[in-house]
């Protein structure tokens, strides 16, 4: 019930936030912040007394009681569809990330949103609710439902509060994800059908659908359906082209949520569903997937370098970074998987922060074009320093979270294929190139004379607080990632065991 409540709090909070606009324009964002904090506090208080948290056991796929939390209620018994939510280490990590970044996104929307504050915050909260659902749902029907429904408020966030080209971007985002979602729906239903033929039972439950026996050919096709849906969201090369537009056009808070959380649902889906449901097919497919991942790493980096739009550059850097996640998942050993999970968390913070910086710049300069910037450090040293920090994080400076992630991925990947690792490692070089050019064009270089009398305001309290949270998080992840690793470890362990048994019949 805790998990249902978590989602309900956000849903209702959204309604309250929307209605609260009548009380004043600046009320909704406070409401939203309170709601998210409440949700977080609720989750933490529920976890507090949980003895299993200190010594997480491996969640067995065939035994829901070994999971941290499990909830199941009938929903559409005609098809064996139930409201089944469960929480294990990885889900918990993602849920925590979602809530923290959600709060950060509210902070990002503080001054960014000019109209319809209430509806904006409502959409934000609803998106978060949908994402939580995605991370917790273990009924495939329910998962698909959250997967699709979370896009709608996100669509509104881009379409209503986005920048100059918002219509196009929102549409592209929605169509890419929906069209790929259709494939997943087809694959899901086919999987259920196969399971139905085998057992005579309708069931959408993850636990029932694991180990569904099916011919190799079928497994390949079904796996592909899931795979495409997830890698579009991830996004992986060559399905990434919605991302630069959506990220660039979204309002800051939208970009934060998109990059910080929504992309992770794709990675989560791969780890949770695409591979475990079809272990053999995934194994056969892993070379293609890893090739796509490596291509994405390099391609995203090259594209990032060619951009002159601040946000677009950051967006392409996401493509590059998520390539590592794809590599990590399909290397499918403990090191690489830990790296992928780590990357999900670390990238969430680093990219969210960069988008917030981009948003702050746009708010102050009314442009994202880096050709209009230059030498901003002089007027906004704090923002410059913060930007430098996150740029360094994004290029994988050891000591910060992203490095741990990328290194673990590469380490795991190396055991599978040194050559793909070598290609992916090119991303470290190209990553440095685009990251540094970002700093050069915006904060360094000759100050743009046009901006001299702009009276630019440096980061102040609220912004610094938000940034500090993320900086501390990244340093913590970089120097002592163990808590995160420990949370994910038992889950990955059981996934690995399960699939390895499958792979060797």
């Amino acid at each position: 019930m805790v998990m249902v409540n978590l989602i309900l709090i956000l849903l209702l909070g959204g309604v309250i936030a929307m209605l609260s606009e009548r009380a004043g324009e600046n009320i909704p964002r406070r409401v939203a912040l309170v709601v998210i904090m409440l949700d977080l506090a609720y989750l933490l208080s529920e976890l507090w007394g949980m003895p299993s948290l200190t010594q997480l056991q491996a969640p067995m796929p065939d035994d829901p009681s070994t999971w941290l939390m499990h909830f199941k209620a009938q929903w559409i018994p005609a098809f064996g569809i139930s409201i089944e939510l469960a929480l294990d280490g990885i889900s918990l990590l993602m849920v925590l990330l979602t809530l923290v970044l959600g709060a950060i996104a509210v902070s990002a929307s503080w001054t960014d949103i000019a109209v319809k504050h209430g509806f904006f915050e409502a959409n934000l909260l609803w998106t978060l609710a949908g994402v939580l659902g995605v991370f917790m749902a273990l009924d495939l029907f329910l998962f698909f439902l959250f997967w699709e429904v979370m896009l709608i408020p996100m669509y509104f966030m881009i379409a209503i509060w986005g920048h100059e080209n918002r219509g196009y971007a929102a549409m592209k985002f929605f169509i890419f994800t929906q069209a790929s979602g259709l494939l997943m729906l087809v694959a899901t239903l086919a999987l259920v059908k196969v399971n139905h033929s085998a057992t005579g039972q309708w069931s959408f439950s993850y636990f029932d659908l694991l180990n569904t026996p099916m011919p190799e050919q079928t497994a390949h096709w079904l796996m592909l359906g899931f795979f495409i849906a997830f890698v579009v969201k991830l996004p992986a090369f060559p399905f990434h082209t919605w991302l630069p537009d959506a990220h660039t056009q979204a309002p800051t808070a939208g970009s934060v949520i998109l990059a910080g959380i929504l992309l992770k649902t794709g990675a989560y889906g791969l780890i949770r569903f695409a591979v475990p449901l079809f272990p053999e097919a995934a194994l056969d497919f892993s070379w293609t997937a890893m090739a796509l991942g490596a291509a994405g790493v390099v391609y995203g980096a090259v594209l990032a370098f060619s951009q002159s739009d601040f946000k677009r550059l950051v967006a392409y850097s996401s493509v590059s970074h998520m390539g590592f996640v794809l590599l990590g998942v399909y290397a499918w050993n403990e090191l690489a998987l830990q790296g992928a999970v780590m990357q999900m968390v670390a990238h969430g913070f680093s990219t969210a922060a960069l988008f917030m910086i981009a948003g702050s710049l746009q708010e102050r300069l009314h442009t994202r074009d880096m050709r209009e910037m230059g030498g901003l450090w002089q007027q906004m040293p704090r923002m410059g320093a913060v930007a430098m920090f996150f740029v360094l994080a994004s290029l994988g400076l050891p000591g910060l979270g992203n490095f741990v992630a990328e290194f673990l991925v590469l380490l795991g990947l190396f055991q599978i294929s040194p050559w793909i690792t070598a290609v992916a490692a090119l991303g470290l070089i190209t990553g440095a190139i685009y990251s540094l050019i970002l700093m050069q064009k915006s904060f360094q270089g000759e100050p743009n004379p046009k901006l001299q009398d702009h009276g630019l305001v440096d980061f102040a309290g609220r912004e610094m607080l938000t940034m500090t949270v993320m900086m501390v998080a990244l340093i913590g992840l970089g120097l002592y990632p163990q808590p995160v690793l420990d949370m994910a470890q038992p889950v990955l362990q059981s996934l690995l065991e399960m699939t390895s048994v499958e792979a060797m019949p």
Partner: protein
């Protein structure tokens, strides 16, 4: 005392963080004090720990916490302390302290005083982590950390985009090496199951035979990192450009400490390199080639800092040569003495630049001998040590390198000859610098000579550059015992005399003018060589054509997302269908009826044809 070593990097780090946080509000005095004293404290601590160690030379390891643990991969935030660590720490904190002190005066006028010291302190911290690291991953952390600090400091005056360009070049070029090194780490872990340096070398010795392919690949990958960081061929091009940073930065990072990290890395992993004689040979050859290439280039430069930069490249080449021939101790020894005299030279040049209104061109200087006596003597001593004139610190270290190179079994004499040529050139260009800048007629008037905060480091470094050669570095335990062989005496005599010849030549050419080389220089071949050498053997040009421009062109092509064009095509197809079909909706009823008739015929055809087949 040993369990305090974690404080050594921590103090400068904390100071750096404090300086960053308080950059807007702290008064300058506090900033200076914080910056200098933190490194001073680190130096004192190092000294104390070092004394302890010398009394009881027992290497020890200290784990602060496990950095991460995934399966059997569990690198720690852990330090390892032995003689080599001590030498490196002493150089870093000692020379670092002096340079910090120097900087308080040098940077006095700068608006970003706090930022400067924050970066510089952070650099010291990172460098300390690098040399103290117990495992390669933590070493990599320090390694990248110093790279970032170098980037930040080279581009310290960020408003000039040329500086930014230089800084990025420094970072990216070294990153290429670093990536190779990272791959090396991956390979080592995958093969040996650990990244703890000591344990790893042990496993490697058990698992691999001398001459195996895997250690060769691993060593070459590590060498890639070392080559990048230490500015050796083919990744040396960033160092001359990195001179865009403030001069004390050049002294600290690009002469004394960071650029020698590659040497340290190879020395630290000597156990691996011993398993790969081919890699050792490559190290030696790279070192020799770099040292000669850079020496020739230094000879042609007119920018005082670039001369010193190429000289640094050249000297590190010597160190590589030493490592390559197995003269580990000599290499580290040269590292130390080089740190003394090159820091001295850089600081000296910093003083000149500071008081000469940021003049870099040595041909616009001249006759500074009397105006800046402290600087003059610094340069004299520094150049003497650089040229390895007898009794200077450089002499002892370089002499050892050359002698051991001679003993290298495969190509010893050739390496030795190459080294000699380099030594000759070194002597020529270093005294060329002295003669041109300090003798002759005065062309620019300096504002005065150094204040005490600049003078003191110079004087101390002068002393170190003179007597540093008598130090005995406690690394005997770290490296395998060298063979007790000695080459024939004539080898030694030749080695000693060559620098002196260089000095003489330099005197004759650049001071007395008795040896006129104008004709040679002005010949077409001479001109060509001059340009060729001046440009650093055209390597920058080559890289620009092979890598930089194609990358820009590629990104220029890609800016509009070729992949998106595919989706654009899909959209266009749909739009075309939409267009055609919308055209078909003419609004004319007869046309609609025609469509229905067509439909009827279609349905009838489908229905009838197949049933006819079924008959």
């Amino acid at each position: 005392m040993g369990d305090m070593i974690w404080l050594v990097p921590l103090i400068p780090m904390l100071s750096s963080i404090l300086l960053m946080l308080g950059s807007g509000s702290l008064p300058r005095v506090i900033i200076g004090l914080l910056g200098v004293c933190s490194v001073g404290a680190a130096a004192v601590l190092t000294l104390l720990v070092g004394l302890d160690f010398l009394a009881n030379p027992q290497p020890f390891q200290m784990t602060l916490w496990t950095w991460m643990q995934v399966g059997n991969f569990s690198p720690g935030i852990a330090f390892y302390f032995d003689g080599l660590t001590l030498v490196m720490m002493s150089v870093i904190t000692g020379v670092g302290f002096l340079i910090h002190l120097f900087s308080t005066e040098f940077m006095e006028e700068d608006v970003s005083y706090a930022r400067y010291f924050a970066y510089l302190n952070m650099f010291v911290a990172a460098m300390l982590v690098l040399v103290m690291a117990d495992n390669l991953l933590l070493l990599y952390l320090g390694w990248e950390g110093v790279g970032v600090c170098s980037y930040l400091l080279v581009g310290f005056w960020y408003q000039n985009s040329a500086n930014g360009q230089a800084a990025r070049k420094a970072f990216v070029v070294t990153r290429i090496g670093d990536t190779a090194m990272a791959l090396g780490l991956l390979l080592l872990f995958t093969q040996l199951g650990t990244l703890d340096i000591q344990a790893m070398m042990g496993v490697a010795n058990e698992q691999w035979q001398v001459g195996d392919t895997l250690p060769l690949i691993a060593c070459l990958l590590l060498l890639g990192g070392a080559v990048g960081k230490s500015a050796q061929l083919p990744l040396h091009t960033w160092l001359p450009d990195a001179m865009a940073g403030p001069t004390p930065v050049s002294a600290l990072i690009h002469a004394a400490t960071m650029v020698t990290a590659g040497v340290y890395l190879i020395a630290r992993t000597n156990g691996l390199f011993l398993l790969a004689p081919t890699a050792m040979m490559i190290v030696a050859l790279i070192g020799l080639a770099t040292s000669l290439m850079a020496a020739f280039t230094a000879l042609m430069q007119s920018d005082i800092k670039r001369i010193l930069a190429y000289s640094t490249i050249s000297q590190i080449g010597y160190m590589f040569l030493a490592l390559g021939v197995g003269a580990w101790t000599a290499g580290i020894f040269h590292l130390m003495t080089h740190a003394f005299f090159k820091a001295l030279l850089f600081l000296g040049s910093g003083a000149i630049i500071h008081y000469l209104h940021h003049e870099h061109d040595i041909f616009k200087m001249g006759g500074l001998r009397s105006k800046m006596p402290v600087t003059f003597w610094s340069f004299m001593i520094g150049s003497a040590a650089l040229a390895a004139l007898p009794m200077t610190s450089g002499f002892f270290s370089k002499d050892q390198i050359l002698l051991q190179a001679y003993l290298q079994p495969d190509a010893g004499p050739w390496l030795w000859l190459g080294g000699l040529l380099g030594a000759l050139l070194t002597a020529i260009y270093s005294f060329r610098l002295v003669f041109v800048v300090f003798f002759g007629e005065a062309k620019t008037q300096p504002d005065g000579d150094t204040g005490w905060r600049m003078a003191l480091p110079l004087v101390v470094l002068c002393g170190l550059a003179m007597v540093g050669g008598y130090f005995i570095i406690p690394v005997a335990e770290v490296f395998p015992v060298a063979s007790g062989e000695h080459p024939a005496n004539w080898v030694e005599y030749v080695s000693i005399s060559v620098p002196l010849m260089g000095l003489l030549l330099s005197y004759l050419i650049f001071h007395s003018g008795q040896l006129n080389v104008d004709k040679l220089v002005n010949s077409s071949l001479g001109q060509w060589l001059r340009r060729f050498w001046h440009s650093g053997w055209g390597i920058d040009w080559l890289y620009d054509r092979i890598f930089v421009r194609p990358y820009y062109r590629l990104s220029g092509i890609m800016v509009n997302e070729p992949i998106d064009a595919i989706y654009g095509l899909i959209v266009a197809i749909n739009q075309t269908f939409n267009h055609w079909l919308a055209e078909s909706q003419t609004g004319r009823m007869r046309w609609y009826i025609a469509s229905m008739v067509f439909g009827l015929i279609l349905v009838l055809t489908l229905a009838l044809q197949i049933s006819a087949e079924a008959l």
